[in-house]
Symmetry: C2
Subunit: 189 residues, 2 copies
Amino acid sequence: MPRAGLTPAIVTDAGAALADEVGFAQLSMGLVAERLGVKTPSLYKHVTSQADLVHRIAVQAANELADSIRDATQGRAGSEAFTAGAQAMRRYVKEHPGRYAAGNAASPAGPDDPLTAALGRVLASWAAMLHGYRIDPGQEIHALRLLRTVLHGFATLEAANGFRIDADVEDSFTWLVDFVDRGLRSLDR
Amino acid sequence: MPRAGLTPAIVTDAGAALADEVGFAQLSMGLVAERLGVKTPSLYKHVTSQADLVHRIAVQAANELADSIRDATQGRAGSEAFTAGAQAMRRYVKEHPGRYAAGNAASPAGPDDPLTAALGRVLASWAAMLHGYRIDPGQEIHALRLLRTVLHGFATLEAANGFRIDADVEDSFTWLVDFVDRGLRSLDR
DNA sequence: AGCTTGAGGCTATCGACATTAGCCAGTCCA
DNA sequence: TGGACTGGCTAATGTCGATAGCCTCAAGCT
């Protein structure tokens, strides 16, 4: 029997791709194995458990998301950075709903956990979206949480098909981004 | 062997209570059966499947949530109604995280599905929170989605322990509610 | 009261999964 | 070339949702 030449990274990639395709809830070790042309138990030579696999997918997702936002906000500030960052995050979740769900399902296990670092990068990306708004330092934490709340809330609702009327979700998003932007700008005085 | 005297409603109640206690993800038919002093297969005389149970819990949760918000906004309008409704929703999710998660996991199966009616009641409760803000009719749908996004986003992040710093989540919530309230008021001109 | 009947328990069993144990061949390095 | 480790595999276990089929309790009729 020829070797498949798997590595933890390859298994993680397959898992991430499958999560996006079939939905995070349907992700199973058997499916990943099938995708890789291997029997289920073989995966355990590269990944210690399904939870471990999800954890790895979460790390990858957090890094990718952070990159997306960073790229989008590159060289911008204030309203422009915020708008671009928000669009980038929404697009990422839309294109990779399974990965994003995995990111929410995992939680970091300590300061050395790579997930901790990855989530820190995401947080930094969000913080970067607020650069240029002159926000009172005492309110920064709240503004950051507002950002998370809004972006996460919209993304998950949309991913769960939560907007029934589905007519103009696009419009709603830009309206929402504009709403938050105006609010953030009005904080400055 | 004495009869346990179960009904679909009793099974649903037990499931809802357990979901809140052990977390929606840990909810299992075996756990529900144990709680009711019965063997697992017996549950299937009252509920057709685990999905059916979740669906029933979702209906109950939606109705309870709608009631909570209705009670809180009773006789109020504008900022007061919004603030009270937002607090009520947050409290409900905090006290019944499992039920709320079940509500998000289920989706209505048609116009006759009781879940459709229950979700409609929730939607109406949210809409009532906006009464008193003079919002351009063309923007009402967006404002409603803003509300859902913010309340759902905050509730799920908090339930998932998403706010790491956890210092002053309370403060963040009132700040966020105030932020949205000011934005909504400023729409009127 | 006894009989009938159906609803609501139960045991046994199946199938899908995650996971572990233990075997065996491929590959790589001395 | 010959180990020895690595990464596949088969087999087996345990958990969980779900189904089949049995058996008894209890309500209602005669």
